[in-house]
């Protein structure tokens, strides 16, 4: 392949990954999936019943791996010559649509199941909450799946990159990866800020306030969909950057360089990231200073 063409493909994959990361994070924020879900689940048990969407589909990485693997599997069937030799773009779109339907089914069962299992804490199953959020969840899941299946297709296609793994397996691995990144970066913005929006900015959640999530607005004019409004200002886009960076940097070094040079370039990237992390750590320490409540005798 021409080097320029290779770089173009890698850039395209990075762009698709950025969109996928962003929509993946917003999907999990609207549905309160992954780790912040523990607070939503806890809220009713400590006496704060709520109208917030509560879904847990076996953790974010497996559920995203499922959407992507199913999307790629369906696309693979449609593209195979014995079925209809569909064009890849249409096949991927239909595959992503099937994955979005599965997202809808799994979200419905987990919302109903989890709330019904908390009846004794006065936690209701609100059907309007379910109806309001479900299409938005499915829409975000569609975007995520479409982008990841597309980038897996580009990786797998013999004329483009030609990765030896089967197409659905590549999609499964990238799905697992986007779920892991989404739950470790963007979800923190939802869990530490949006869920506890009425607490003071500048500290993590005090263990004493566990379960006391922001829920009055959601009982009235707002809904869980507004989590996307809040998190799309920061949490969603940075998740996109993280996943896009992972896909781009990893493929760039193996496309642009070969053999040991690509290993050296990768190591250099990691060392640069460590130095950069040290920079922002010192910045935060100097800017914010120690917590005033601290009473120990270690000097800041």
């Amino acid at each position: 392949m021409e080097p320029a063409m290779g770089m173009g493909i890698v850039a395209l994959m990075g762009a698709a990954a950025t969109v996928a990361g962003c929509s993946e994070d917003l999907e999990s924020d609207i549905g309160s999936q992954s780790n912040p879900n523990s607070q939503v689940q806890l809220a009713a048990q400590v006496g704060y019943p709520h109208r917030i969407f509560n879904k847990a589909i076996s953790g974010e990485p497996p559920s995203n791996a499922m959407y992507c693997a199913v999307g790629a599997g369906v696309a693979m069937v449609l593209m195979s010559e014995s079925v209809m030799s569909a064009s890849p773009l249409i096949a991927i779109a239909i595959g992503a649509f099937v994955a979005a339907l599965l997202n809808g089914v799994f979200s419905t069962t987990s919302y109903m199941g989890r709330n019904a299992s908390q009846t004794r804490f006065n936690q209701y199953v609100y059907l309007d909450v379910l109806r309001n959020q479900i299409l938005s969840l499915m829409g975000h899941a569609y975007i995520t799946t479409f982008c990841i299946v597309l980038l897996s297709y580009v990786m797998w296609n013999q004329d483009l990159i030609g990765h030896p793994f089967p197409f659905p397996v590549i999609a499964l691995i990238w799905g697992l990866c986007v779920g892991a990144i989404g739950s470790s970066t963007g979800d923190v913005h939802y869990g530490a800020e949006r869920e506890f929006q009425d607490f003071k900015f500048g500290a993590g959640l005090n263990a004493a306030d566990s379960g006391n999530i922001t829920r009055y607005a959601e009982a009235g004019i707002r809904s869980s969909m507004d989590n996307a409004w809040f998190c799309s200002k920061f949490g969603g886009p940075v998740t996109g950057i993280a996943f896009g960076m992972t896909v781009f940097l990893d493929n760039w070094r193996s496309t642009a360089f070969g053999g040991w040079v690509s290993v050296a370039v990768g190591t250099a990237i990691v060392i640069l990231l460590i130095i950069y992390n040290r920079k922002i750590e010192t910045y935060a320490r100097n800017k914010y200073g120690p917590f005033p409540e601290y009473a120990g005798d270690i000097e800041a």
Binding site: P164, D187, G191, A207, A242, S262, V263, A300
Partner: protein, 243 residues
């Protein structure tokens, strides 16, 4: 039946490779700073997700890079030891990139989104930079974010995880020569060796400075036995062309 004994006898080196790979994954999981669910509320130091998922996410990203490198190298000749070293290094660096990017962006969220400086509650001073930690831990929490020591530890964890996953893949490719079978088995072996250590640390650890890190030998023993079993079985499965 003789087929099976022959396969075991010829592929013993692959079994050893799978065991080494499994132990690398197990130790790697201990290096990755994961705070579990509390970290997602900036309530604990580390990455705010589950151990297994994060290890799998990074290790398998490395596996993708390693698989591509294996294909490129095997186009010339059947990969020998020096090629395997290069493939494993590629996989290890791929996993390191994924986990470093995740940690740096995670720190962005902690610093700019939540407004907290990264700090560990398990040690008073960062063993690498010497910075004091306790005054920067918010009230009612056990730290937040990834200070330098956690970051470096996480990068080492990614390295070991990616190395282990790639080594298992290479060993399986030696046996069956089929990337499809090898990749899905490598995922299987990876998951087994990532879950057992995560039980060992009970879901959360800060890195090599955490007292829980002393439990590594137990996980190594458990993963040695589990990988031995998986390895013995996996090397007896020939590729589709082997019949």
């Amino acid at each position: 039946m003789t087929d099976i004994i022959t396969m075991l006898a010829t592929n013993w080196i692959s079994i050893i490779g799978i065991i080494i790979g499994g132990i690398c994954i197990a130790v790697g999981v201990h290096f990755v700073p994961v705070g579990g669910a509390p970290a997602a509320m900036a309530q604990a130091t580390g990455i705010g997700t589950g151990t297994v998922q994060l290890a799998a996410g990074s290790g398998l990203t490395g596996l993708l890079a390693a698989g591509y490198m294996y294909m490129t190298l095997s186009a010339v000749d059947k990969p020998g030891i020096s090629e395997i070293v290069l493939i494993c290094a590629t996989g290890a660096v791929g996993a390191m990139i994924m986990i470093s990017v995740t940690m740096i962006v995670g720190n962005w969220v902690y610093i700019y989104g939540v407004g907290v400086p990264p700090a560990s509650a398990k040690v008073d001073y960062d063993p690498l930079t010497g910075d004091s930690q306790a005054p920067y831990v918010a009230a009612g929490t056990v730290g937040q974010g990834m200070p330098t020591v956690c970051f470096v530890s996480g990068a080492i964890g990614g390295l070991l995880g990616g190395l282990g996953g790639s080594l298992v893949y290479c060993m399986l490719m030696w046996v069956n020569g089929d990337p499809a079978i090898s990749s899905i088995f490598a995922i299987g072996v990876f998951l087994v060796n990532a879950v057992l250590p995560s039980y060992n640390i009970q879901g959360t650890i800060e890195g090599f400075h955490d007292p829980k890190f002393k439990r590594v030998p137990k996980a190594m023993l458990a993963c040695f036995i589990a990988s031995l079993l998986c390895g013995v079985i996996a090397v007896m499965i020939p590729g589709a062309g082997g019949f």
